[in-house]
């Protein structure tokens, strides 16, 4: 349950007005390394030389079918009828759905507009944000925004409870709250862990059920 306590702290920090920092920090950057793509071509020589080049098949065009950044954003806050369209977006144009997410928070969940705005600024553009300048011990879904942390999404993150608590609990807005953090009726689904343990080493996900 330690992670839950972490999230309580993060969400509380946000409620207290901690800065929500967007990912849009590129303005005026001049320190980007042009060689970022360099290492990739020097890796992975553990395959046969006869197999290390792709054929001239570059003419194939692939059209996007599905897209996922943050968990729950489209599944929970976007009405079902619009999911297909959502899947044909990319983070840079997911903002068109921000009003729908805000409407879910205010109209369906019955929460204040200010809370909707806060959540919208964290969830859009819809991608998993990592702040690699922060200690890895602070990794966890939305921690980059809510707790000045590393962010990303860990296998053990209970994103359902975090999302529910952010929307329905007293942490971000005491007004009209449905429940205390991580409690019934709507701030937890009471499924807090995966059914099997994750591995501490690569590839981390547990072996399949067979």
């Amino acid at each position: 349950m330690r992670w839950k306590n972490d999230y309580r702290a993060w969400l509380a920090a946000l409620a207290l007005g901690a800065a929500v920092v967007g990912c849009g920090d590129s303005t005026g950057r001049s320190d980007q390394s042009p060689s970022i793509t360099g290492p990739s071509v020097s890796q992975g020589d553990n395959h046969g030389t006869a197999d290390d080049q792709d054929d001239a098949d570059d003419a194939t065009i692939y059209d996007q079918v599905d897209f996922l950044g943050n968990p729950l954003v489209s599944e929970v806050t976007i009405v079902k009828a619009n999911h297909a369209r959502y899947n044909l977006t990319q983070p840079y144009n997911t903002a068109e759905f921000l009003p729908q997410t805000a409407a879910f928070v205010t109209d369906v969940a019955g929460r204040p507009a200010a809370l909707a705005a806060t959540l919208g600024s964290v969830l859009y553009p819809d991608m998993l944000v990592v702040d690699a300048s922060k200690p890895t011990a602070t990794a966890g879904w939305l921690s980059w925004a809510l707790a000045n942390g590393w962010g990303g999404r860990k296998l053990t993150d209970d994103v359902v409870d975090v999302g529910l608590t952010a929307i329905f609990s007293t942490l971000l807005s005491p007004t009209g709250a449905s429940c205390a953090p991580f409690t019934l009726p709507l701030c937890t689904d009471n499924v807090g862990n995966n059914d099997v343990a994750f591995s501490a080493t690569f590839p981390y996900l547990a072996a399949p059920h067979l």
Binding site: G24, V65, V129, R153, Y204
Partner: protein
Amino acid sequence: MKKPNLTRRRVVPILVVGGLIAGLAAGRHLLASDHQDTPEVELSPRFDVNDVYAFPAATPGRTVLVLGTSSPLTPAATPSFTFGTKDRELYQIKVDNTGDAKEDLVFQLTFTGVANHQRVTLHGPVKPRQVGVTNSLIGGKKTLAGPVNQVLGSANGIQLFAGPRDDPFFIDLEQFFRILPDRRPSTGPLSVLPTPASSFRAPGSAVDFVAGFNDMAIVIELPTSMLVANPNHPGKFGVWGTTSRARGT
């Protein structure tokens, strides 16, 4: 959480005997799908992106990226299940490290071969040829290639695993649908959940819908320095996953 595709329909007959479990499987599949109104995709669970993860690796200075697809996959169906092959499907993990929400780096993963003999090829991280929803293969020298269901690459460089794994997600999906009926699948047992609810269930009654199921996972671990714009001053980056269909297929 994300959406399994309707393909579970293919799985459903196997489960039908299982009664409730079968119903749940079909339901989750249908529910999670963003594509239930797109018949061709409903029939193609391989195109379903269920979950994306990004977390620190066990080794300092390294990051793990996960693209989970095809969930929930029943144990019975798992051994013969395959990734979508290159002639039809492209799997990608995309990374923005300049703050404009557009991909600066991509990992392109393609598969060849039939069940139990599939091979995976990784290109990247590398600058994509196109940004956005229409993509083509980077081509050229492969970053990694080899059989699925094996750890490929180097623990000091890029490591890759592609194959069936336990679905890492957990949720009481059935109760979620009772609370928010709009998100229900349009067909299957979960489309007709009888009792609307206004609360999740108590600890003893809540059910992890995904327990016991698998997904087809792609796991990549690499030095974090290969993901950020400036390795000397690591900053923010954003991660998302996509599947794409070869045009004309």
